[in-house]
Structures are given as structure tokens and as C-alpha cells.
């Protein structure tokens, strides 16, 4: 059993890793073969070299941008869940707010970054964190509200037949029902928060962050350093995504339970 799950994990993991390595190798080979100029597309090996050379700067930039992503994530998730509960408690709020939220969510919210800079100042991290929080808020709110309200009518009737009140129904039915929806949103917004943070940083702010490291090095034609900064951001986004996957696995174990064989039916 344990060996089997281990084997199945390995069998799921190795193809993307192999393909990833293959692509890096192709990239390296293509740059050498076609003599592509370093400022157009640097080799993975020279990006790796720059990464090691500028490690202190990049590590610091990753850390600063990480704080913006995580701070924005925390605020956005908290507000999204809070509003989802409000929307569940007050039906009119849900009917008014949800379509609006869906519409706003379809707009490029990061484009607000310069305006947020004007409102909250460009020196600290508040402005950028709030951009991230706004981007994160909408998917979390929409999904969680959906999970809290889209409960089968029979399930509510069943609870009422046990003489359960609204709070018990919230605790026993709505919240667990919303968990997979929330986990879905989390998987979406975790990498999105890094994208939002970096795009927000493009519009100015302290110079020691990934977004600014990318723009300033690109401006100086030091493209390999810019690429190294992108690699740092990618690694961070990927780890947030994996973290979200783990949270999903742990919080919704019934989702990964496998269907029994037909033969065990009676």
C-alpha cells in the first residue's frame, strides 16, 4: 500500500520533471547552436551563473517580494472569506455582490497599481500589498460564497428535520461544503499573488524588490540578471502553488478517496 502510493507519486512526478529538464537542455542547445545573442535569450547556464553571482541581492529581493505576496494573500483571503460569510448571512447582499464581484474579477485589477501608489504612497509596501490583496480577494470571495450557498436543498431539509438551526447548518453543512471551493480559489490565487506583486512593483516603489530588479537590470541590458530574478519569482510562485495543493489535500481528504471497484457493489 505504502510502497504503491510512493510508486504512484513518483510516476506522477517524473514526467513533468523529465520534460522540464528536457526543455532546459533544448534551450541551452538552441542558444548555442543558433548563436542567439545573450540579450535576446540567455542560456540557462548563464542565468544560473548570474543567480549565484547575485545571490545576495536576489535573495533579498525575493524575500521583499515574498512579504508583499504573502501579506497581500493574507489580507485578500481574510477579506474574501469574511465577505463570503456576510453574503451568506444576508441573501440580498449575495444577490447584489456576487455578480458585481464576478464582473470586477474579469477586469485587469493590477492595472490599478499606479493609482494605489498615489493613494497609499510609493515608499512602503502597503500600496503593493493592497494591489495583491485586491487581486486575491475576488476569486476567494466568489468561490467561498458559492461553496457556502450552493448546498443541495435536500441537505438543508435533512438538517432541519433533525431540528438543527441555522448555525448548526452553517457549521455542519455550509462550511465543509465550501472547503473544496475555497481550496480551489487558494490554488488559483497563490501563484497569482506573486504575479500581482511583481507587476505592481513595475510601477515603482523601493528598488530592492524582484519587480524593480527585473526592470532596472533590463534597462541596463543585463538581461541574464533579469532572467535570474524571474527564476527566483517563479520558484517562489511554484512553492506557493505547491503549498496550496498540500492545504487542499489535507483539508479535503474525501476528494482524493478513490472510487471502489464495481465488484464490491452488492
Amino acid at each position: 500500500m505504502n510502497l504503491n502510493t510512493f510508486k504512484s507519486r513518483v510516476s506522477v512526478l517524473w514526467p513533468p520533471i523529465a520534460v522540464g529538464i528536457g526543455i532546459l537542455a533544448l534551450w541551452e542547445g538552441a542558444v548555442i547552436l543558433f548563436e542567439i545573442r545573450e540579450f535576446l535569450l540567455p542560456k540557462p547556464s548563464s542565468i544560473w551563473g548570474e543567480l549565484r553571482e547575485n545571490w545576495e541581492v536576489l535573495r533579498h529581493a525575493g524575500w521583499e517580494t515574498g512579504k508583499i505576496s504573502l501579506g497581500g494573500l493574507a489580507i485578500g483571503i481574510f477579506a474574501g472569506v469574511l465577505f463570503a460569510f456576510f453574503a451568506t448571512l444576508f441573501r440580498f447582499l449575495n444577490e447584489g455582490l456576487t455578480p458585481l464581484a464576478v464582473a470586477v474579477n474579469a477586469t485587469p485589477i493590477v492595472a490599478l497599481a499606479p493609482i494605489f501608489n498615489a493613494w497609499f504612497g510609493v515608499t512602503g509596501s502597503v500600496s503593493n500589498q493592497l494591489v495583491v490583496a485586491t487581486v486575491v480577494f475576488f476569486p476567494v470571495f466568489i468561490n467561498t460564497a458559492k461553496g457556502l450557498t450552493e448546498v443541495h436543498v435536500n441537505e438543508i431539509e435533512l438538517m432541519r428535520s433533525y431540528a438543527a438551526g441555522d448555525w448548526t447548518i452553517l457549521r455542519e453543512v455550509r462550511i465543509p461544503n465550501a472547503l473544496p471551493f475555497f481550496a480551489n480559489a487558494l490554488r488559483l490565487v497563490a501563484p497569482l499573488s506573486v504575479i500581482a506583486a511583481i507587476v505592481a512593483e513595475y510601477f515603482g516603489g523601493p528598488q530592492d524588490r524582484v519587480g524593480n530588479v527585473i526592470t532596472s537590470n533590463a534597462g541596463l541590458a543585463r538581461y541574464d540578471v533579469a532572467w535570474a530574478a524571474i527564476a527566483v519569482a517563479s520558484a517562489f510562485g511554484l512553492s506557493l502553488f505547491i503549498g496550496a495543493l498540500l492545504i487542499e489535500r489535507v483539508s479535503t481528504p474525501w476528494k482524493s478517496a478513490v472510487q471502489l471497484e464495481e465488484t464490491t457493489k452488492k
Binding site: R160, S161, W254, A257, L260
Partner: protein, 260 residues
């Protein structure tokens, strides 16, 4: 079966969306008494108010006119006293609870201790012939197994009244017949009163002591048919008395259609 009334429905009307453009008179002038321990089916064309009547009995809806008494008290009091077990066509098991925990949910809400709950859920799993499935998630079970768990959950706290709304409607014919036999066995073992909504003539004939035929727009009691097939087994389905009951129900339903 005792002579005491389990349910007394007097002069009940149910109107949805009263005094609006989309007003629907779902039920009109319903009078029906059901005895303790009786197995009564409600049958009729779709939209005739079967589910509505069941929900009125279960206090999930309130009558517009008239009264519903359950065990000599209001339907509301009976619900608060946890006299009801309900089963719907949609098994309504909670995905996030394992099978045993699903069966234990009403017991949890009724304040049972953990060890009592565990004992009872195992008893119920044995009763519905799923003794080894307590640790699975509902999604892992077939539709028929899920519906049996749903029945086990409804019976776990020994409700005095079992309300079932087309519980076997989503099952294939063989599973359905199997479940009918099981339901009768459980009904005999527990002595509970059952109100059973169906649109299947053979199902109503096979299961019931009495079949209430409803006519639509507005829903009324068209006729009440007594059925007595004695002890039912698989071979009852090939018995003339079974065909006789089914024919009687079918003729009543034809008469309902011709009324329209």
C-alpha cells in the same frame, strides 16, 4: 399496526406564492389519517403535490389552511422532538464525513455520547448489510449503497416516523427491488410508520398497506387503495394478488388522467 393515529391531516390547503402572478395551488382540501406502524404510499402524476404533502407532514413547509398533527401534537413540535427520519431521492450524504460519521450525524446533533454513537452506527450498518463500509467516504460507494446508508442514517435514532421522497427513484430496477425487500424487513423490525412517495405503480403495490392516489391541479386525494399482500418476498412479485393491487392502482391513475 396499532389503531392510534400517527398522522392526522385535516382540511389542508397549500398555496405557493399566494396572491402573486405565479400563485400555485399545490394542495386543496386534503384529509388523511395514517395509523401508527402503517406503510402508506403517495402516488400521482408529477406535480400533483406528493413532495409538498410529505414536506407538510415533516414541518418543512407550513399549510396555508388546515392542520397537520403528528403523534397527537403539531408537526412543528414533532420535528423539534426529533420524531422524523427523512430519505430523499438524492441520498444527501455529506461527502466530507465517512459513512459511519454520516450515520452518526443526527445522533451527534441529539447529544449522544461518542461510544453510543459508534455502537449504534455499527448496528445500523449491519442492518442495511454494509457492515464493513463505515470507514469509507460516501463518494466511494455505489448509488445503491449510498441510498442504504441514507436509510441507515434516517433510522439511526429510531424515529417514530419515516418520510421518504422517491428514495429509490435513481436506482436501477434490480437494485430497486432489492432495496424494497430490505426496506420492508427494516420496517417490520423497527415497527416505524412510513410515508413513502413514489411514481412507480409496482413499487407502491409491493410496499404499502395503503396507497393514496393524488390528482393534480390542485392536488387532491383521488382515492385510497387498501393493499394486503401479507409477508412479501421476491416471489410476491409474480403473485396474482400483487398484479391485482397494481391493476387497481393503475386504474385509479388512469381515472386521474382522464379527469384532466
Amino acid at each position: 399496526m396499532s389503531e392510534k393515529n400517527a398522522i392526522r391531516i385535516s382540511d389542508v390547503d397549500k398555496v405557493f406564492n399566494e396572491e402573486r402572478d405565479d400563485e400555485v395551488i399545490a394542495l386543496s382540501n386534503i384529509n388523511l389519517d395514517i395509523k401508527e406502524g402503517e406503510f402508506v404510499s403517495l402516488i400521482g402524476p408529477s406535480g400533483c403535490g406528493k413532495s409538498t404533502l410529505l414536506r407538510l407532514i415533516g414541518d418543512l413547509l407550513e399549510p396555508t389552511q388546515g392542520s397537520v398533527e403528528v403523534f397527537g401534537k403539531s408537526a412543528h413540535q414533532a420535528r423539534i422532538d426529533q420524531d422524523y427520519g427523512m430519505v430523499f431521492q438524492h441520498a444527501g450524504l455529506f461527502d466530507w464525513r465517512r459513512v459511519a460519521a454520516n450515520i452518526e450525524l443526527p445522533l451527534e446533533l441529539h447529544g449522544w455520547s461518542k461510544s453510543d454513537r459508534a455502537t449504534r452506527s455499527q448496528e445500523m450498518l449491519d442492518l442495511v448489510k454494509l457492515p464493513d463500509f463505515g470507514g469509507y467516504y460516501p463518494r466511494q460507494l455505489s448509488g445503491g449503497m449510498q441510498q442504504r446508508v441514507s436509510i441507515a442514517r434516517a433510522l439511526s435514532f429510531k424515529p417514530k416516523l419515516l418520510l421518504m421522497d422517491e428514495p429509490f427513484g435513481a436506482l436501477d430496477e434490480m437494485t430497486r427491488e432489492h432495496m424494497q425487500i430490505e426496506l420492508l424487513r427494516i420496517w417490520e423490525e423497527t415497527g416505524t410508520t412510513v410515508v413513502f412517495v413514489t411514481h412507480s405503480i409496482p413499487e407502491a403495490a409491493f410496499l404499502s398497506n395503503r396507497v393514496v392516489v393524488l390528482s393534480p391541479r390542485p392536488g387532491r386525494v383521488h382515492s385510497v387503495i387498501d393493499v394486503d399482500l401479507g409477508q412479501r418476498t421476491e416471489s410476491t412479485r409474480e403473485d396474482p394478488s400483487f398484479f391485482g393491487a397494481a391493476t387497481e392502482i393503475r386504474e385509479a391513475l388512469r381515472a386521474v388522467e382522464e379527469q384532466e
